[in-house]
Each structure stands twice: as structure tokens, then as C-alpha cells.
């Protein structure tokens, strides 16, 4: 078994083991063990990657190729570069944190953890695939369990939210599939055989006329899951209804699939299409960044604040990708990672606050710093990360995006960059507004004086996510250089 396929097989084994468990206690132990193994594998992969990279300068390393369906030339073809290694690490951490946060999931625990792990298989598979068809299949595997997870374990208008989310993401998938087939049927433009292999297609000169048609399809197909304006409305409702761990995984990992797909498929395979359409999508991304921030300003439900904040932050990822240079791409990947950790932690904390106070309305909360200090302090720290305070992960990502975007001298790019940079002020306002109302001030409700303290499993989940946020923010060099180096061949293909 190769080092990458383990990321598929270990979760599958975990699921098989889960089938034989009885009750919550067994289910969570098995899930936790599976999660810990995956995290160890992901950390090990980082070291293995550096070692391999020292002797092997291929674009993708640890590659493996198995023919899956010969007739259409579909392969199970996998490999990683610095970008996927970083995202795999993100996934492993968020999944494990999600297991800890779901420590008290009393309702159908076995089925819950199985669905959660199915979702993670989809994500792992997506990040290691270099075959378009396999990639698409994993994409669907990741999206489908969402319906069950929200529909069964959700709160509030869960059926509505689950349906809305699934329909919009499925609609996007259909568009994406058309785009992918379009690429496939043109992968013989230079006279070779039809192929789904990304690295092979990248060598083919797909005609501009084709790129012009299929780039928007692929871009939108992926970007919907990254909450591209105006296709973001599934996200606030979906998050609000989802159980905590699902929100964490969804916002922390699943929404990153969009940016990754745009970068790996849309930009890399259809570079001329990207150049042709970039102005249009830049406008949408800029709107998303500002619009999401202002919309967050007005929300009173913590999950909605965070959902709109995600629209804004992920708009920044798409914006950075469209800036088409190494620095801004590096920023896009770093922002994906940073947002993944931050937002997962945000949702975890919101879940903890909700489970104690039974409300997510900031105006009903107040003075929480006094009653649940640990959770509140962490909330402030993540908030500061979210508004881009140096020393935390958000700053590192944003500065790469801004410096990268500023390398364009063209007026259109300049103006859109400056608009996007201004979002840092609005972000500060909505973060501090929520923190001020909810955490500070006098304690609003007598009943809050005796809230249960934070438990060990909650602390573990928090620390798992907090350590990378601080780590990235304090010492970004190794990570940023690892990604930067991997971006070189991609940026060459585009320019």
C-alpha cells in the first residue's frame, strides 16, 4: 500500500470497525483512534514529502496509477505536491477535532461518525487525485453525506437547509461535470488519446475557443462550494442547521475543495480561458469579499456571522487565485488553510456556547468572559486571527494575497485590490462587535452564572485547531516556501 492510498483505506477500515461498535462510547473511541492515525499519517507525509522532494523534482510525487475503466481511459491516479500535502494536514486536523467536539453525540452515534468519515474520504481522495474523473467522484462522495448529516442530526429547519444545500451543490456538480467532460473530449487536441489525467492534459494545447466555453463552467462548478457570490446562499442556512462537527468540517475543509479545484483544474488546464474570463470573476469575488463582510455586520446569530464571514474570506481566496501570480496563489492556499482552522474553531466554540446557553443570538448572550473564560478567550483569539492580526494565521495569508495582487499595474486590478484590502476594516468591525456584545459587558442572564466548565475533550479539540493557527502565524516560512515551490510549474503553465 502506498503512502497516499492509506488516506483512503484507513478511513474505510475505521468505518468497517464502526459497523461493529455498540453505543456512543465505542463509536467515539474507534473514530478517535482512526482520526489520530490519520493525523500521524498526515504529519508523516509532510516529512516524507520534504525527503522525497530533495531527490525527486517531479511536479507530483508519490504518484501511483491504476487503470480503473479502460474504455474511457479512467485511472485511479494519485500524487501530491506541497499544496495537497498542506491541505491533507488541514483535513486530518479538522476531522480529529470534529470527533472530539462530537464526543457527546448521543443521537445515532455510529451512523453519525460513519457519515462524517465518509465525508472525509471524499475530501482526502479529492486532494490526492490527479485524474479528473476520480477527482469528480471523490468530490461527490464528499458532498452527498452533507445531506444526511444536516437532515438527520441538524437543528432548526434542517430538512429545508439540507435540501437547499444539496440542490445547489448538485446543480454546481452538474455544471462542473459538463466542464470536465468538455476538457476530456478536447484532451486529444494535439493528436493523442483522450485522457482524464491532469498532468497529461496540461501538456495539451486546448484550443482557445474551447477554453472560453468550459472555463466558466468549471470555475462556477467549483466556486459554488466556496460560496462564490451570488451562489452563496446555501451556506448560511446550511451552517445554521448543521450540527457542530458538520459545520466544522464543512466550512473548515469542504469549502476548500472549491478553491483547490479552481486552482488545480480550471486555472491549470484552461489558462487562456482563465485570462479571458478573469475580469468577470474578479468582479464577483470582490463583491463577495465586501458584501459578505457587510452582511456579517448585520447578523445577530453567531453561525450566520461566521457563515457570511466565510463568504468574505473565501471570496478572498477566489480573488487571489484570479490574480494569477505566485505570491497571490500562495496567499490563496494559505488563506484556505488559515480559514479552515479558524472557521472550524469558530464553529466548535459556537457549538460549545450553544450547548451551554441554548442560544446563538448575540443579544441574548453577554458577559461570557466572566462565566466561561476559556472558551471566551479562545473566541477572542480566533476573532483576532480572522481580522488578520499579525502573529496569527490570517495575517500571513492576507499579506501574501495583497502583495501578490498589487503586482498588477493595471488600473482595474489596482482598484479591485484596494477595495479588497479595505475589507480588513469591516472585518474588524463585525468581529469586535460580536465579541463586545457577547463576551464583554455585564452578565445578561442569571442562569449563565453556573454554566458548566470546559471539558477535556473540548479543550483537546480547541487546542488541535489553535496550535496551527498560532504556528502558521508565528513561523510561516517553511509552509509558505513549501507551497511557493510547488506553485512554480502551475504558474508557468498559466503565464
Amino acid at each position: 500500500m502506498d503512502i497516499l492510498s492509506l488516506f483512503i483505506t484507513v478511513p474505510i477500515i475505521t468505518i468497517l470497525a464502526l459497523v461493529f461498535t455498540k453505543g456512543l462510547k465505542q463509536a467515539r473511541i474507534v473514530s478517535m483512534v482512526g482520526g489520530v492515525i490519520q493525523l500521524i499519517m498526515a504529519i508523516n507525509l509532510v516529512f516524507a514529502y520534504f525527503k522525497e522532494k530533495a531527490v525527486n523534482d517531479a511536479i507530483m510525487v508519490f504518484t501511483r496509477d491504476v487503470v480503473w475503466y479502460e474504455h474511457f481511459n479512467i485511472h485511479y491516479s494519485i500524487g501530491v505536491d506541497g499544496v495537497s500535502v498542506a491541505l491533507l494536514l488541514l483535513t486530518a486536523i479538522v476531522v480529529l477535532a470534529g470527533v472530539f467536539i462530537s464526543w457527546k453525540m448521543n443521537d445515532l452515534p455510529k451512523e453519525f461518525f460513519i457519515s462524517l468519515i465518509v465525508l472525509s474520504i471524499g475530501v482526502y481522495g479529492f486532494f490526492i487525485s490527479i485524474d479528473l474523473f476520480t477527482l469528480f467522484v471523490f468530490f461527490e462522495i464528499a458532498v452527498i453525506p452533507m445531506y444526511l448529516l444536516i437532515g438527520i442530526w441538524g437543528t432548526g429547519p434542517k430538512e429545508y437547509s439540507a435540501m437547499k444545500l444539496t440542490l445547489m451543490l448538485m446543480g454546481a456538480s452538474a455544471v462542473l461535470l459538463v466542464g470536465i467532460l468538455g476538457i476530456y473530449f478536447n484532451s486529444n487536441a494535439d493528436g493523442g488519446a483522450l485522457t482524464f489525467n491532469i498532468l497529461e492534459i496540461a501538456q495539451v494545447n486546448i484550443p482557445f475557443e474551447v477554453q472560453k466555453i468550459f472555463f466558466p463552467l468549471v470555475f462556477i462548478g467549483f466556486a459554488v462550494i466556496s460560496a462564490l457570490f451570488p451562489f452563496h446562499t446555501w451556506s448560511p442556512d446550511g451552517h445554521a442547521s448543521a450540527p457542530t462537527a458538520v459545520s466544522m468540517l464543512h466550512a473548515g475543509v469542504l469549502m476548500k475543495l472549491g478553491g483547490y479545484g479552481v486552482f488545480r483544474v480550471a486555472m491549470y488546464l484552461l489558462p487562456e480561458g482563465a485570462l479571458h474570463w478573469s475580469w468577470f470573476f474578479i468582479i464577483l469575488a470582490v463583491i463577495g469579499v465586501i458584501y459578505g463582510a457587510f452582511a456579517a455586520l448585520k447578523q445577530t446569530d453567531l453561525k450566520y456571522i461566521n457563515a457570511y464571514s466565510s463568504v468574505s474570506h473565501l471570496g478572498l481566496v477566489l480573488f487571489a487565485l484570479l490574480m494569477l501570480n505566485k505570491t497571490s496563489w500562495n496567499g490563496a492556499i494559505l488563506q484556505s488553510l488559515s480559514h479552515g482552522f479558524m472557521t472550524a474553531l469558530f464553529f466548535a466554540l459556537i457549538g460549545m456556547i450553544y450547548s451551554r446557553t441554548q442560544t446563538r443570538d448575540i443579544y441574548k448572550l453577554g458577559g461570557l468572559l466572566k462565566v466561561i473564560p476559556f472558551i471566551s478567550v479562545i473566541y477572542v483569539i480566533v476573532g483576532l486571527a480572522s481580522l488578520g492580526l499579525p502573529g496569527l494565521s490570517g495575517f500571513v495569508a492576507e499579506m501574501n494575497i495583497f502583495v501578490g495582487a498589487f503586482q498588477h499595474e493595471d488600473m482595474f486590478y489596482r482598484v479591485s485590490t484596494i477595495i479588497v484590502v479595505s475589507a480588513i476594516v469591516v472585518t474588524a468591525v463585525y468581529i469586535l462587535r460580536a465579541a463586545g456584545i457577547m463576551l464583554m459587558g455585564p452578565v445578561k442572564n442569571e442562569a449563565y452564572l453556573n454554566l458548566p466548565k470546559v471539558t477535556w475533550y473540548e479543550k483537546t479539540g480547541i487546542l488541535l485547531l489553535l496550535i496551527p493557527i498560532v504556528g502558521m502565524g508565528v513561523a510561516p516560512l517553511w509552509l509558505s516556501d513549501m507551497i511557493l515551490e510547488s506553485l512554480q510549474p502551475f504558474i508557468q503553465a498559466v503565464l
Partner: protein, 640 residues
């Protein structure tokens, strides 16, 4: 000469912060106070050692103080642009190390008394250490991005400390306001950095400031709307500085920041963080001076002068003594900016630069003293308002004497520290810009007046009867007062111009007797007026206030700046931007999506029969549909 040991100066407070922050619950309050003070004492000793080594051991080369830089890569952006972290030792950074060390150490000692009965004692010292770490980092920064990083960190420490009494809504609001207003100014700073990086290809101070370097020589290569891109960058960077240093129109956060504990006001909002803006301009002074014949520097001069006068006028009518001091700080910061703005570069021409740094140094001492003295008074009478004070000289002799010394220093009376630095500022203004000189003289008079207004109001005036007899503060609080008072007396005798000057060569400054006489005369007038109005209880002040009705009202209401800001944020941004966007999102964007969904449901009602419930059928339909779509698209492009 090796200065790499100076990295310990910021690292020690960082370690203290982490220690106190992480083991918050487990450390006894008394112990945490000692840890904080001891940590800072170590940093201060190293700072003094570094200053001694820099100025007296490592000699000048070619008559110029050398710059020592040690740095390491923190993050790479492009092949040329990157963020370094490191230390830069030159005259102004060494001078700032001394300022930060002295004031922070005094404030740490003082806080052990002042915060004695507070629940969050350990947390308080943790935040103080975090602030001191960030401030040291800012001072030692080697490049624009590093200074920006620590700039944000001092901002957040300030946020945490203003909001220290977090159960008080006014403190929470003040903290938020301070952060957001400065953040808005920092937006300018950040864009300025981006422009600077793009057009000069570097963030390094050394490369930027070199008068023979490409950044300065090629400033004219690109222009935008009539000005060079570099000038734009400098103006934007100055906006960041104006935000931190509470220049117009970004000053509104500073008076509210007085909600924080008084030692914090002394350290952050009087002596150190608020001078970061001045330090930033001084740091980039060669650029400000040489690029486009000092266009941006002129803006600095005028913004400084206007802010200085504006704040002095407001300070006259405020009744909360901490707010008077806050506006006084703003006024003095304006003085320093103005002085930088009128400075030349070589030798005695650069007297404005030298005077600005000198005033920064002396002001830090006497303004910290004023704040700590005010804290001592507030500690005794449990109120910030003048109306609750009076005749305190009998109860608090040490506070009285030290406050008087500080007031004389800020009023520019010889031989106190403020006299010397203020005189140099007025000399610089007189030699370069007469208009600004007259503003400076006027402000000097106003300063003396408002300062003695509160001095007499607190320690003389009416003999109040107090519910609890006020008593002198404990030694932990009076000791810092005495040390700072001593520095406010002798600080002016330091031959500052020989150590700090724009061209780093140093020069010998002489007292300009006629100008000094005028300044002292104006200051004395202010003091005498205050003496007439406020020494004994009388209704003279009220009469004058009525005579200047409108003017008094505008001054008292701080020229209605807060109201204007409130209108813009609440009425326009919240009600006219954020609320409509939230509504638009719910009704229009989401509504459209829902509409599409509902139409689909209607359509599906009609073709219900096709719903067999078998997954295979759906899968077939899905794939089939996709293939059809694909064929349509392929057809479209082949026929193009």
C-alpha cells in the same frame, strides 16, 4: 560591534506574557507582580547597557553614528520582496528603547500598588508585558512590514488594556473604537507599504532611507494624479502614523481610551504607543525629506500644527482630568509632528528632527508623570472629575510636588525638561515656517494655561470636605512619581543634539535666547491667568465661559467630531449599507434561488410519474442529462 543580544529586550517581556497568560490561574497575584517587574527590569538594564555601548563604546565612523542590523527571513513574497524579522540599532531606536524601558518599568512598579485589589491582577501584568514586547519590537523593526506587524500588536494590546474593565460597557465601547479607528488609519498604512514595496522593490529601512539609494533617487519615475507614487505611499504611511498618534481627524479614539486603568493611559496613551506615529515618520525621515522636495513632509507639518492647536483649545474646557491630559497628549504629539515637518536634514538644519525626538523623550517622562499623578489623585478621591477635587495639596504632598514639576515641565518653564525641547521646536519652526511658529507659540501659552487650570483645581481651589479623608498613595506608587519627577528636572540637560540628529552626525545646539524668552513669557502668562482664575474658588471662569458662549460650547463638545463619526457609522454604514445588504441577500439573492427551486417543484409535480424511487433511474437520468448538456456545448463550440 555586536548588538545581537538586544533581541533579549523584547523576548523577555514576551516570555513573561506567555508565562502569566498561560498559567494565569495558577500564579499568585503577588508573584505575578514581581515576575512582571523583574522581567522588565532585566530588559531595562539591557537597554541601558546597549545605549551605553552604542553611544560611548562603538565610536562614530566618518563622524556618523553607524546603523547595526541583524535580521532573518520571516516570509518570502516574491524574489525581491520579503518580510524580515530583526533588530535595527541606530540613535533613535536606542533612544526609544530607553523611553519604553523607563516608562514601562515605572508603570509596572506603580501598578503593583494601583491594581492591588483587582481581580485580574495577573492578567493585567500579562497584558502590560504583551504591550511592552510589541512596543520593543516596533522600535527595533528593520523594515516596513516588521514595523506594521508590531504596530498591529501594540494596537491589540491597547485594545485589551482599554477594555480591561470589560464588564463596563463604556470601556468595551472605547476599546472597540480605539481599535477600529486606528485600524482604519492602518488601512492607509498598509496600502502605503504595498505601493512602496511595489515601486521600490524593498521594505528595508536601510535601503529606503539611503539618500543615494535608488528608492530616493528614482522617486519621480512613476506618478499618479500629479504626485509621485512614492509621495502617495508616504502620505498613506503617514495616515497610519496619524491614526496611532491621534492626529486630526483620527484623534477621536484617544480621549475615550482613558476608560482604561490609569497606569495604562500613562504607558500606552501618553508615553509610548501614541508616539509610534512620530517614530514612524522619523524612521522614514530621509524619504519624507528628499522625495518630491518634501511634499509629504509639509503635510506632516500642517497636520501636526493644526492638531496641536485644536487639541489645546479642547483641553481648556474639559472637566475630566484624564481627558484634559489626553487632549494635552494629542496637542504635544502634534507639536512633535510639526517639528518633524519643519525639519531640514544636514547638521543644524535638522534641528526640527532633533527637537521632535528630544520632545518625544522629555514628554514621555513628564506626561507619564502627569498621568501617574492623576492616577494617584483618582485613587485617593475615587473620581475623575475636577468638581470632586480641590485642596488636595494638604493630603497628598508628594503627588502635589511631583505633579507641579511635571506641569512646569510641560509648560516649558526653565530649567525643567520641557523647556529645552520646546525651545528647540520653536527654533526649528521659526527658521523654516513662520506661520507654524506662531501656532507653536500660541499652543505653548494654552498648554501652560490648561495644565495649571487642572493643577490649581486639583491641589488648590476650594477646600472640599471629603467623605473619606484622602491620603497619600503607598510607596510603590510614589516611588515612580519621584523617579519621573527627577527625570523631568534633569532630562533637559542631556546634550541630545549630539546623539540624535537627522543625518546621524550630531551637532551642538545652542539656546536661542530671544525665542526662549518669548516662549517662557507666553507660558508664564498662561500660568498667571490660570492662577487668577482657579487658585481660589471664584466665578471668574464661569463668567468668561459665558462671555465666549458658542466658542466654549464647541470646545467643550470637542468640535462635535464624535457626533459626526457616529452619524457616519451608525446612520450611514449600518443603516444604509449593512442593513440593505443583509436584506438584499435574504430577499433578492436567496429569493431568486428559492424561486428557481419552487418553479422546479411545480414542474416536477407534472412529471411526477417519472419518480420511480429507484436510485439507478436517478443516476441514469443524471448522467444522461449531463451527457446531453455536454453534447450541446460541444456542438456549440465546433460550430463557432
Amino acid at each position: 560591534m555586536d548588538f545581537s543580544y538586544t533581541i533579549l529586550i523584547p523576548l523577555i517581556p514576551l516570555a513573561v506574557f506567555l508565562l502569566l497568560g498561560i498559567f494565569n490561574q495558577k500564579i499568585k497575584p503577588a508573584v505575578s507582580g514581581y515576575i512582571g517587574v523583574f522581567g522588565l527590569l532585566t530588559s531595562a538594564i539591557i537597554s541601558f547597557y546597549a545605549a551605553y555601548q552604542y553611544f560611548f563604546v562603538s565610536s562614530k565612523v566618518d563622524g556618523v553614528y553607524q546603523t547595526f542590523v541583524e535580521k532573518t527571513v520571516w516570509m518570502n513574497f516574491t524574489d525581491t520582496l520579503r518580510i524580515d524579522m530583526g533588530i535595527l540599532i541606530d540613535p533613535i531606536s536606542v533612544m526609544m528603547l530607553i523611553v519604553v524601558s523607563v516608562v514601562s518599568l515605572m508603570v509596572h512598579i506603580y501598578s503593583r500598588g494601583y491594581m492591588k485589589d483587582d481581580d485580574g491582577y495577573t492578567k493585567f501584568f500579562a497584558f502590560l508585558s504583551l504591550f511592552t514586547f510589541s512596543m520593543y519590537g516596533l522600535v527595533l523593526a528593520t523594515n516596513l512590514f516588521q514595523i506594521y506587524i508590531f504596530w498591529e500588536l501594540v494596537g491589540v494590546s491597547s485594545y485589551l488594556l482599554i477594555g480591561y474593565y470589560y464588564t463596563k460597557p463604556s470601556a468595551v465601547a472605547a476599546a472597540k473604537k480605539a481599535f477600529i479607528v486606528t485600524r482604519f488609519a492602518d488601512l492607509g498604512f498598509l496600502i502605503g507599504i504595498l505601493i512602496m514595496g511595489y515601486y521600490t522593490g524593498t521594505f528595508d529601512f536601510e535601503a529606503l532611507n539611503n539618500p543615494e539609494g535608488s528608492a530616493i533617487l528614482n522617486w519621480a519615475s512613476t506618478s499618479f494624479m500629479g504626485l509621485s507614487a512614492i509621495t502617495w505611499a508616504l502620505i498613506l504611511i503617514f495616515i497610519g502614523g496619524a491614526g496611532k498618534s491621534a492626529m486630526l481627524p483620527f484623534h477621536i479614539w484617544l480621549p475615550d481610551a482613558m476608560e482604561g486603568p490609569t497606569p495604562v493611559s500613562a504607558l500606552i496613551h501618553a508615553a509610548t504607543m501614541v508616539v509610534a506615529g512620530i517614530y514612524l515618520v522619523a524612521r522614514l525621515f530621509p524619504m519624507f525629506y528628499f522625495v518630491e522636495e518634501g511634499f509629504a513632509l509639509n503635510i506632516v507639518a500642517y497636520v501636526g500644527a493644526i492638531s496641536s492647536l485644536f487639541a489645546a483649545i479642547i483641553a481648556i474646557t474639559q472637566t475630566d482630568i484624564k481627558r484634559v491630559l489626553a487632549f494635552s497628549t494629542m496637542s504635544q504629539l502634534g507639536y512633535m509632528m510639526m517639528s518633524l515637518g519643519v525639519s531640514g536634514y544636514d547638521g543644524h538644519e535638522g534641528v526640527g528632527y532633533m527637537a521632535s525626538m528630544f520632545h518625544l523623550f522629555t514628554h514621555a517622562m513628564f506626561k507619564a508623570l502627569l498621568f501617574l499623578g492623576a492616577g494617584s489623585v483618582i485613587h485617593a478621591v475615587h473620581s475623575n472629575y475636577l468638581k470632586d477635587m480641590g485642596g488636595l495639596r494638604k493630603y497628598m504632598p508628594i503627588t502635589n510636588i511631583t505633579f507641579l514639576i511635571a506641569a512646569l515641565a510641560i509648560a516649558g518653564m526653565p530649567p525643567f525638561a520641557g523647556f529645552w525641547s520646546k525651545d528647540e521646536i520653536l527654533v526649528a519652526a521659526f527658521e523654516h515656517n513662520q506661520l507654524i511658529y506662531y501656532v507653536g507659540v500660541l499652543v505653548a501659552g494654552l498648554t501652560a494655561f490648561y495644565m495649571f487650570r487642572i493643577y490649581f483645581g486639583i491641589f488648590w481651589g476650594k477646600d472640599k470636605t471629603y467623605e473619606h479623608t484622602p491620603k497619600e498613595s503607598p510607596f510603590s506608587m510614589t516611588f515612580p512619581l519621584l523617579v519621573l519627577a527627577l527625570l523631568s528636572i534633569v532630562g533637559g540637560f542631556i546634550p541630545f543634539s549630539e546623539f540624535v540628529s537627522a543625518d546621524k552626525a550630531g551637532f551642538v545646539a545652542h539656546l536661542n535666547y530671544p525665542l526662549a524668552a518669548i516662549a517662557v513669557g507666553i507660558g508664564l502668562t498662561g500660568i498667571i491667568l490660570a492662577w487668577v482664575f482657579y487658585k481660589k474658588e471664584n466665578n471668574l471662569a464661569d463668567k468668561w465661559a459665558n462671555a465666549f458662549g458658542t466658542f466654549y460650547k464647541w470646545s467643550y463638545h470637542k468640535f462635535y467630531f464624535d457626533e459626526v463619526y457616529l452619524f457616519i457609522t451608525k446612520k450611514i454604514l449600518f443603516k444604509r449599507v449593512a442593513a440593505p445588504i443583509a436584506w438584499f441577500d435574504k430577499k433578492v439573492v436567496d429569493g431568486t434561488m428559492e424561486g428557481i427551486g419552487n418553479k422546479t417543484v411545480l414542474a416536477s409535480e407534472k412529471i411526477k410519474g417519472m419518480q420511480s424511487g429507484r436510485v439507478q433511474d436517478y443516476a441514469f437520468a443524471f448522467i444522461g442529462g449531463v451527457v446531453v448538456l455536454a453534447i450541446v456545448f460541444i456542438y456549440l463550440w465546433t460550430n463557432n
